[in-house]
């Protein structure tokens, strides 16, 4: 048998406007756990989706057990023994464990009269469980199961194909607690002993030492290197590998002397989401908040904007305490959130640019009895389109027909039209292509000239590049609070990924 159960060479994948992968090499020994690491946008997801047959690669080759294979569809991937367990696997909660394992694969026959034999399914599930002894009651409905049990069901489902030898786990621990993670690791070790090769994607670096044999770091769609987990490796080293040297020139200059305080937040908390957050933002300043998805920054944004009003602590604008129990209160007090999920939270796609820009401040465009002053609206929104350089044939164009970057600008325009004092941008450049990103950063800087801006993002480069002052959130707490010129990119990343502890190989988490 060949040394590698899987070998990927020179994988290239291009999307319109984005070079997602440019020559990635990767290999996997049989029976090893190989961690795949990289910051958001490095190409991990794309690589995995090529392996799973979701995307087609443009160039490169894939060998399985030394033989070249072609993967054109998820079915091909399955036939070659590759199974993927995505984050948050979807299941039918009222069905039992074994029913979920075989969902849609109950029988090979096509006839509608071929009824599902539960007894037989249960037997097949039992055989599967003998081969991979998970600690699991398969007769229990999934709704009664804990997260580790659900993950185990998803893994069993992936392994239910007789030929399954390669298992991809995509951030399996992102929603698990510490003790649950340890339980899951026991299961992964058991799989390893039974010869399953595992590609393990994670943002939690300390897990690499706990579970992985080797790791590969991707950066900008290229392989940085493949490393064995040994005593020379620590999290600081890995973050350096993930980041590299560069910080490209897409970011505007920083400022040094902010003005008076606009927003001040004291001991803000929502139980179970984030605790004891305090900070302030000054006129002229961009405050960056960095964290991983799930670190609580999303809830923090929504809380400041009144979408999640049940909170502890105090919010003040211009030194005066304000009550914010709805988004309307927030807008009235001069706070505007440019939400992260633009398509669902930001824009009314089926309506025009003008409709969207004026939506959060309809008072300004309406007069007697609430009648819209069409002339004023047209003039104001056209001016906004010019100011933000939104590429649209006119303000009557449907927002759905604009590009991602221009849609984002429409949402920003909506915020500008509320004449807010404080702008919170959550994940401002997701779905925006590289060229348009820079425009948005310069816009934020311009905006911060006489307003205050908070940028909240899981994109480390973005936070580091654009902000004057950085907070890092980890598991609902602020673990680092520094001026950008007094910190390093890898310090920020390390705090975001591990909460600040430098974990070495062999250390427990």
């Amino acid at each position: 048998m060949d040394e590698y159960s899987l070998e990927m060479k020179g994988i290239v994948k291009q999307f319109p406007g984005v070079q997602a992968l440019s020559g990635v090499d990767f290999n996997l020994r049989s029976g090893e756990v190989h961690a795949l690491l990289g910051i958001n946008g490095a190409g991990k997801s794309t690589l995995i989706k090529i392996l799973a047959g979701v995307y087609q690669m443009d160039a490169g080759e894939i060998n399985i057990s030394g033989k070249p294979v072609e993967i054109h569809s998820p079915l091909d991937a399955k036939l070659h023994g590759i199974s993927t367990v995505y984050q948050d696997p979807q299941m039918i909660p009222s069905f039992s464990g074994f029913e979920n394992i075989f969902l849609g694969m109950e029988t090979n026959k096509k006839s509608v009269f071929d009824f599902i034999r539960r007894g037989e399914l249960r037997k097949r599930a039992q055989q599967l469980l003998e081969r991979y002894p998970f600690n699991l009651d398969l007769n229990k409905p999934v709704i009664e199961m804990g997260p580790v049990e659900k993950e185990s069901i998803a893994i069993l489902r992936a392994l239910s194909q007789a030929s399954a030898t390669i298992l991809v786990l995509d951030e399996p621990t992102s929603i698990l607690t510490r003790s649950e993670i340890l339980m899951l690791f026991e299961q992964i070790k058991m799989l390893k002993e039974r010869g399953v090769s595992i590609i393990y994607i994670t943002h939690r670096l300390e897990e690499v030492f706990r579970i992985a044999d080797r790791f590969t770091v991707l950066r900008d769609g290229k392989t940085v290197g493949m490393y064995t987990v040994d005593e020379n490796i620590n999290t600081n080293k890995i973050t350096e590998l993930m980041l590299g040297e560069k910080l490209s020139q897409v970011y505007p200059d920083k400022i040094s002397s902010p003005g008076e305080e606009i927003l001040s937040v004291e001991h803000l908390g929502i139980p179970g989401k984030f605790t004891d957050i305090s900070f302030n933002v000054r006129r002229g300043e961009i405050l960056g908040i960095y964290g991983l998805v799930g670190s609580g920054f999303d809830e923090l944004c929504k809380s400041l904007f009144g979408i999640l009003p049940d909170r502890q602590g105090k919010i003040s604008m211009h030194g005066k305490k304000v009550e914010i129990s709805s988004s309307e209160d927030a807008i009235r007090n001069g706070i505007f959130l440019v939400p992260g999920d633009r398509r669902t939270e930001g824009q009314v796609s089926e309506e025009s640019v003008a409709f969207n820009i004026s939506l959060a401040n309809l008072k300004k465009v309406s007069g007697f009895l609430g009648f819209i002053r069409g002339h004023k609206e047209g003039r104001d929104t056209s001016k906004m389109v010019d100011t933000l350089n939104i590429k649209t044939p006119g303000v009557g164009e449907k927002v759905a027909l604009l590009s991602g970057g221009n849609q984002q600008k429409v949402v920003i325009g909506k915020g500008l039209y509320t004449d807010a004092e404080l702008y919170i941008f959550e994940e401002p450049t997701v779905g925006v292509d590289v060229g348009a990103k820079s425009g948005i950063y310069y816009l934020m800087r311009e905006l911060s000239q006489d307003k205050a801006v908070i940028v909240v993002s899981s994109d480390i480069e973005e936070v580091f590049g654009v902000s004057d002052h950085i907070l890092v959130m980890f598991k609902g707490q602020v673990v680092l609070d520094r001026f950008t010129d007094q910190t390093q990119l890898n310090e920020v990343l390390a705090h975001g990924l591990t909460g600040g502890a430098n974990v070495k190989a062999g250390e427990a988490i």
Partner: protein
Amino acid sequence: MSKRAKQFNRDWISVIIFLCILAGIMAIFSFLAPQFMTANNLLRALKHLSVTSLAALGLTFVVVVGHSDMSFAFVSCFAGMSMSFFIGIVGWPPVPSIIMGLFGGMIFGFLNGIAVGRFKLPDMIVTIGIGSFAWGLAYLYNKGNYIYTNFLTSGIIEFSDGRLLGIPFPVIYLFSFYIVAYLILHRTKYGRGFYSVGSNRIAAVFSGIKIERYIIAAFVISCTLASFTNMVMTAAQGNGNVKGGLVLLLPAWAAVFIGISVFKKPTVIGTFLGAFLLSIMQNGFTLLNAPFYIMDLIVGLTLILSIVISRIEVRKKVKDVSPIDTFQAAA
């Protein structure tokens, strides 16, 4: 051709097709039944139109905010019986009786709105439940029997038969309500609120729109307008009938969906055109002495056809999403 010009054509082509169909149907009827194109008959058609179209107008608000109301027809029965009760059994004059009836309808609309808007209950089921409850209550007034005492003397008939400058009152109601509704939905900031709640509720929340109030308002408008419609029907028939309002349900839905298939979204003018088409057909088939059930057939078919057409439009829109966005969304 520029993208914009293409868009313009796509928007207007369905309106032109619709108007051609309407003209075709009218031509066929006037060919088959010579009395169809007379002024008197057209006025009669308009009077009929006022009935379905007002209920449909109320329903339009609910559909605009992205919900369904199955209760308005049943609620209108309750409202109609309440009016009849106050006129026929208590002996009140028409105006306060009508106000009581409308108030009753309003209450049920409010209940729908609270259930759907605040408690997020499924709209179909809740409105069927509340509608059936209202209908049950309507039976209590006179054990389900007709109420017609006092009707001829109280003056309620005038609300249907009266004329102003030769125009029947129902036609006046029709145009006044449509103009007001048009102004609200398409010319004021409240209209922006209604539409934003319907097309992207979450974005509306993030824009500081009070979505709950808009949903409640839509249900209140729907039930109140249906109740008003039932008042006109009760006045026209000269008696209060527990089942009188039931005929509103299907045509109102059909009118709204015809409107959506023409304009790709619920609009006041679309609903008007839908109701107009249905009334023309109703009128034409009556002139041709077609059996009464033919209309149920036609309305049902039209409803299904218009839903199919509006769905095709929705599918087209999904394809318009650009590949880069799809990739980003998947990644």
